[in-house]
Subunit: 468 residues, 2 copies
């Protein structure tokens, strides 16, 4: 769905190691074997390669990967609570999938290439077009409604400024085949469930909700040509990022009258249903759907999280109805997530339309928010056991001990080299091991090993086959 946070990549830049010249200070390639080792076609490079990932991309060293896994696991578990099935699509798609009319920012930032066969390809900037393609391909073989989720990397080629990256991961949930507003209500419920799960409250974030049909009704009052509607939405989405004067100028450029523009801006500032009903009358589709959604929200139990805000339109061309956007109540961060209904996307691909709604939730702003609120979890490395032989001749024995434990489902860091005990204790502390298992010759002769519980210092001997 909408790459709510496509423009807000995880901020922390990969740290540069100031000096790599001492990279092998700890372990050394066995010098003794260097004479007889096969020669490597070395020195292809007269100087060191650039050790940083390409501009705008990230490495995930273990500590970052643990955080990413924690986040994705929460995405997955929430999706599963809601009965959604996981899917994925290629990262590389035809560029044509993303070329839409309407002046979207995303179009100019497609990470596109020509492949060796001179075909235009793109690293996907969002997941929804791939979803539509796959649904069209599967056609009748699918059971509707489809409830799918995906967690995929998306790309955009933009000028690099602080905190902006060229890739991010996005969690999407989509419902295909449900025309009712229960679809949107269910999606918002899953977003709220996710927030609660990771410790975010309704005081931290809210979800602004509107419908493109609100603007549609205003524009039809002024006989704005239908072709200008999508363009107007994309312009309006820039509100807050550009000045009101610039906004008016852009709206004029798509041939909206001054009157229409003034009225539009008035409507966009509406934050209550009462006011909206006064403006549009109480019988339109826009208001009815919004009322239904707010009524369902009460039953779902997330009323305090949501609020009507006519200024929400979202920046993607394909939305047709309800649109929503998660926001930081302190106003410091960009949108946390966003989505809406897109009932006409399939026909733009030459297929028959299907009622559809969904959302996109990036991995960047949410991490920033958790940091801001000091809610970022500690996700320490934890390897339950460390196994070490006290004698080089007992390495095989230590291997056997490790195998016995692993066979019983226990995680083991096996010390592969001859290291002093001091080093082993340090490593045990780094990996947060619970037990140190020492293989010494006196015990091993009797088939025993020494188990040390690291928290208490308690120590006992046990037969290797009785290790649990």
């Amino acid at each position: 769905m909408a790459p709510a946070t496509v423009d807000a990549f995880m901020a922390p830049a990969t740290p540069l190691s100031a000096d790599n010249s001492d990279v092998n200070a700890t372990p050394h390639a066995s010098r003794s074997s260097s004479v007889s080792s096969p020669p490597y076609q070395a020195v292809d490079y007269s100087q060191k390669i650039d050790v940083n990932p390409r501009k705008g991309t990230r490495d995930f060293p273990p500590e970052d990967m643990r955080l990413r896994n924690w986040l994705f696991q929460n995405f997955r578990e929430v999706s599963q609570l809601f009965g959604f099935e996981e899917v994925d699509y290629p990262i590389l798609e035809s560029e044509a999938l993303y070329i839409r009319k309407g002046g979207e920012e995303i179009r100019d930032q497609i990470y596109c290439f020509e492949d060796r066969g001179n075909r235009r390809v793109a690293l996907r900037p969002e997941l929804t077009p791939s979803l539509a393609r796959l649904v069209m391909q599967k056609g009748q073989s699918l059971s509707y409604p489809i409830k799918w989720y995906a967690i995929g990397q998306c790309w955009r080629y933009e000028n690099m400024t602080r905190g902006r990256r060229r890739e991010h991961y996005q969690w999407n949930m989509d419902i295909i085949g449900v025309p009712d507003v229960t679809g949107e209500a269910e999606l918002i419920s899953s977003i709220v469930t996710f927030f609660k799960r990771i410790g975010i409250t309704a005081k931290d974030v809210g979800i602004k909700i509107s419908s493109r049909k609100v603007l549609q009704e205003v524009m039809s009052l002024y006989s704005v040509p239908e072709t200008s509607f999508t363009k107007a939405c994309i312009i309006i989405d820039k509100m807050g990022k550009i000045t009101i004067e610039e906004l008016k100028k852009e709206l004029k450029s798509i041939e909206l009258s001054n009157d229409a523009i003034e009225n539009l801006l008035q409507v966009l500032s509406i934050k209550s249903f009462t006011e909206l009903e006064e403006k549009l009358g109480g019988t339109g589709e826009a208001i009815n759907e919004l009322k239904q959604l707010f009524s369902l929200a009460e039953k779902f139990g997330y009323s305090e999280w949501i609020q009507f805000d006519a200024s929400v339109v979202r920046g993607l061309a394909y939305y047709t109805g309800i649109v929503f956007e998660g926001f930081d109540r302190e106003g410091k961060l960009r949108a946390v997530c966003g989505g809406g209904r897109y009932d006409r996307l399939f026909s733009t691909f030459g297929g028959d339309d299907l009622p559809a709604c969904g959302f996109g939730f990036g991995d960047a702003v949410i991490i920033e928010l958790l940091k801001e609120r000091r809610l970022l979890p500690e996700v320490p490395l934890e390897i339950e056991n460390i196994v070490c032989s006290l004698d080089p001749d007992l390495k095989g024995a230590a291997a056997r001990v490790a195998s016995v434990l692993r066979g019983k489902g226990r995680c083991v860091d096996l010390v592969l080299e001859n290291k002093p005990l001091k080093w082993v204790f340090k490593r045990a502390a780094r990996i947060n091991a619970r037990r140190l298992i020492l293989v010494g010759s006196a015990e091993w002769e009797k088939g025993m090993v020494v188990v040390k519980i690291l928290s208490s210092g308690e120590q006992y001997q046990v037969n290797v086959d009785e290790l649990e």
Copy 2:
């Protein structure tokens, strides 16, 4: 590590839906709302888009994604049993990271592009160069030995033939900082643990082991210039794929004498240590390391899985010592996985060398093997509960019921539309629901719902707050 199966992408082609014209036969975009819905900038396309993923790439619809998740989960759990930490790198890297001398096949198949800034970039063909880059970047801040694993998508641009794809996923495990052969022994142990876990036995697959130092020792007997060594390895790796005559011709082209070639071919046919010792003498480093490895294998308990085979050299330039390759004992499939020691990779990147070993294990051949052996698991969709209102007015009530259950960690497929009971039972069967929870007005007035256990047909009423 070595993309053992980089040339063997998952065979089943994405099915083409024969006819997509009836794609919306089941659900329809709400026709009633079409008049007042905002106009979508439709018909950008005069005809339907290509609904297939790009040549050589895969979609993962839910059933394929479940299988992928099952496979990856096994990769992960085994890696964790061995105390390895997960990492990831960008899919997009500088092309320079992959340009090595030595005539590797992989070089001609790099999926490379020029980006908008006219820089040469590549979709990674393998993970090891990124690992080396990250280790060089982190330098001293890492605690050695490093034990990392990754599961990442790799790309190669090759001509498409049956069963060959342009992307695949590869599981890598690498140990950086251990010069001893215990490193390789540990890696092979994790591969065997993985095989056992998914039901593959030592009768199904074996692991051929050799060392590049064996060839090195032979070549030094014939004063083969060291610069020809890597090239010779890459040529020898083609054995079995090209004829012996072609092989000899290629070896001649790098200036090996006829004598050297004949001797080399003789050595390559050796399958026992005794024979190898006769040929090379019993004191060389190659033989010593191999003997140590086989002795450790006994302690680890995987002797029956491995065998010495001098013909194994692996096709990547950077290996320097032990090399190994998992193979299908029936000989029908390509290598299942492969790896080895690469103690000189870092210096080719302009860094200081670090002892290193690792392996690559693709997602393609293993799935083929499981199919061949009828071991492919059933990974059915299972959503424990399906919740449905019996009256359109009770949709909010059904939403409340779903929320209560989800709050207790239960997975719920909530029926979002008004559907006949017959449809609901059909859906319940499709998602393998255990319970159907019906919200009817008579019960709801008392705060109750009807729970139906689908396996037994048992049915009872329960207060919504007491639902577990």
